[in-house]
Amino acid sequence: MLQKPLNVYWKKKNSMLDFQQLVGIVKPIIGEAGTDEKSTPKAILVTAADLKKVCIELNQNPATYFDMLSCLTGIDNGTQANTMEVVYNLYSIPFNHHLMLKVTLPRENPEVDSVSDIWRTANWHERETAEMFGVKFNGHPDPRKLLLPADWEGHPLRKDYQHQEKYRDVIVKY
């Protein structure tokens, strides 16, 4: 889904939308939106089921035009909270909009739709998040491990991660 780049200089800031207007644009899809205004950039809380639709809308809508996915990452909130999050940092080059999307997932079998057909940046970022947190990205075109060896056990960035004792007869603990 390649977009025609809007060839504008970064000075075109007069058509910038503020956060409330951005929330208004996704309101028809997610209903009463939860927000987190303490974070930088300000965040919209999205459910895993709505995420793909929200991303397509934000990407395709000519008023928002989020053509770049800056960062995609996971967060493990630990066994106490028993939740996990996937955080999307969107950026719109022509309008200089920043936006954060947060999806909260259960810690057992976390699943969310892949956005790699909207922004291909997501392809590698999702592979990394999948191996590090054990989040499953549905519809990912290439779900292999990226940084870890293919036969590595466990998801290292989970808070309760215990590394394996030996990897290929080499002691892991240093």
């Binding site: 970064w10 987190d36 303490k38 930088t40 940046t121 940084l147 293919a150």
Partner: protein, 391 residues
């Protein structure tokens, strides 16, 4: 089970196809990048990068260290441009603490000065090794020789040649040594004719143009969709530089332009354009450094009372929040995503969004249907540092 199995299997191939393994130990892959290349005769059908040979668990380490102790690890991400990474990281934590606007001007100017010196050093490596990849040996020695001057200057400030730990949260390790600004100015006068020479010998060289023009063309829409930033994105023709867009630190007070690829020798976004953009950026960095020196010698002079440690926070404990900060390093947009929980001095989560990682991910797209020699030329023009790709 293999530890790093190939994506393509031998038994699924047609008779004219074969798999060639490139790297991980090969000088033209700039570190430990391994490429699995599916060939049809001499033509490349598909390139599959295999990463992780330099994975050092930066993010896991950062979850176990106080904010200020993460800085040496940040150095080791992009180890040829550590000052730039440190600058972005320190800026992010300062903004989270709400002290970003209290930093004295002299500190900010020194930060920009050392960061731009390091940007020149990084671009020297990019251009020099790129020339060597495609057969030009002499310019590599020239730029390494000139880079040595920069490393000596930076060593003088903090004692380390590559991994500085110089920019601290809220200040600096030391003020610049006495005589540093004068020596910097001497170096700037020395380097300017050298740059002209380098441009004539390498960039405008007919052999170099033949090898790089119209090779590895990266269209702008593809670049944005892949999150490509830095000289690669500018080489594709978009005037997008975070130093101008976000205007962080003292960059708004400095006068410099943002060069973009114009397709002078071929198509917009080819390997030549990317190298040319880097070359022009060195000229811009020289301009910035000269302005910084002017300010550091006149307006924000060294005084006895000036203490770069004065604002160092005793306790770095940001309020509970999620924070994404980004800045322009020589390779592109370096971002840090923090989650602070508000109760500890340790980041709950610290993710590094590295520019080399996203820039490299576009490689399979732009190297289909070319010869192996062109693939080498394309890898060199990406200018990735594997320490930053694998983190």
């Amino acid at each position: 089970m293999e530890s790093e199995p190939n994506k393509f299997r031998e038994d699924g191939l047609r008779s004219e196809e074969m798999i060639i393994n490139l790297g991980p130990q090969h000088p033209s892959t700039h570190g430990v990048l391994r490429l699995e290349v599916l060939m049809d005769g001499e033509i490349i059908k598909e390139v599959v990068p295999h990463l992780g040979y330099l994975h050092r668990c930066f993010e896991k380490h950062a979850e176990n260290l106080p904010y200020n102790q993460v800085i040496p690890f940040v150095d080791r991400l992009d180890y040829v441009a550590s000052m730039n990474s440190e600058h972005v990281y320190a800026m992010g934590v300062e903004r989270m603490l709400g002290m970003a606007d209290q930093i004295p001007k002299r500190i900010e100017y020194i930060r920009v000065l050392v960061a731009e010196l390091n940007r020149i050093a990084s671009h020297f490596i990019a251009i020099g090794t790129y020339g060597m990849d495609i057969g030009a040996f002499t310019p590599f020695f020239w730029v390494m020789h000139d880079r040595e001057h920069i490393l000596r200057l930076l060593e003088w400030t903090c004692g380390a040649r590559l991994l500085y730990n110089y920019i601290w949260i809220g200040g600096l390790y030391y003020d610049t040594p006495v005589g540093f600004e004068e020596r910097c100015r001497e170096f700037m006068n020395y380097i300017k004719p050298k740059l002209q020479e380098l441009e004539t010998v390498l960039i405008e060289n007919e052999i170099f143009i033949q090898r790089t023009a119209n090779v590895g063309v990266l269209p702008l829409d593809l670049a944005i969709n892949y999150g490509v930033t830095g000289p690669m994105l500018r080489g594709s023709g978009l005037r997008f530089d975070l130093r101008k867009v976000d205007g962080y630190s003292v960059y708004p007070e400095l006068d410099f332009t943002v060069p973009i690829g114009e397709g002078k020798k071929g198509t917009v976004g080819d390997c030549w354009d990317r190298t040319w953009v880097r070359m022009q950026e060195i000229h811009e960095s020289v301009k910035i450094i000269e302005q910084c020196l002017e300010k550091l010698l006149k307006e924000h002079k060294r005084t006895k009372e000036f203490d770069p440690h004065a604002l160092l926070p005793k306790k770095i404990r940001p309020q509970a929040q999620d924070f994404y900060v980004r800045g322009e390093t020589p390779k592109g947009e370096l971002g840090f995503f923090f989650r602070a929980d508000g109760t500890s001095d340790i980041p709950f989560r610290c993710k590094a969004r590295s520019c080399s990682f996203s820039n490299l991910s576009v490689l399979p797209e732009i190297s289909r249907g070319v010869l192996v020699a062109d693939l080498i030329a394309t890898i060199g023009s990406v200018d990735m540092v594997m320490g930053e790709v694998d983190r």
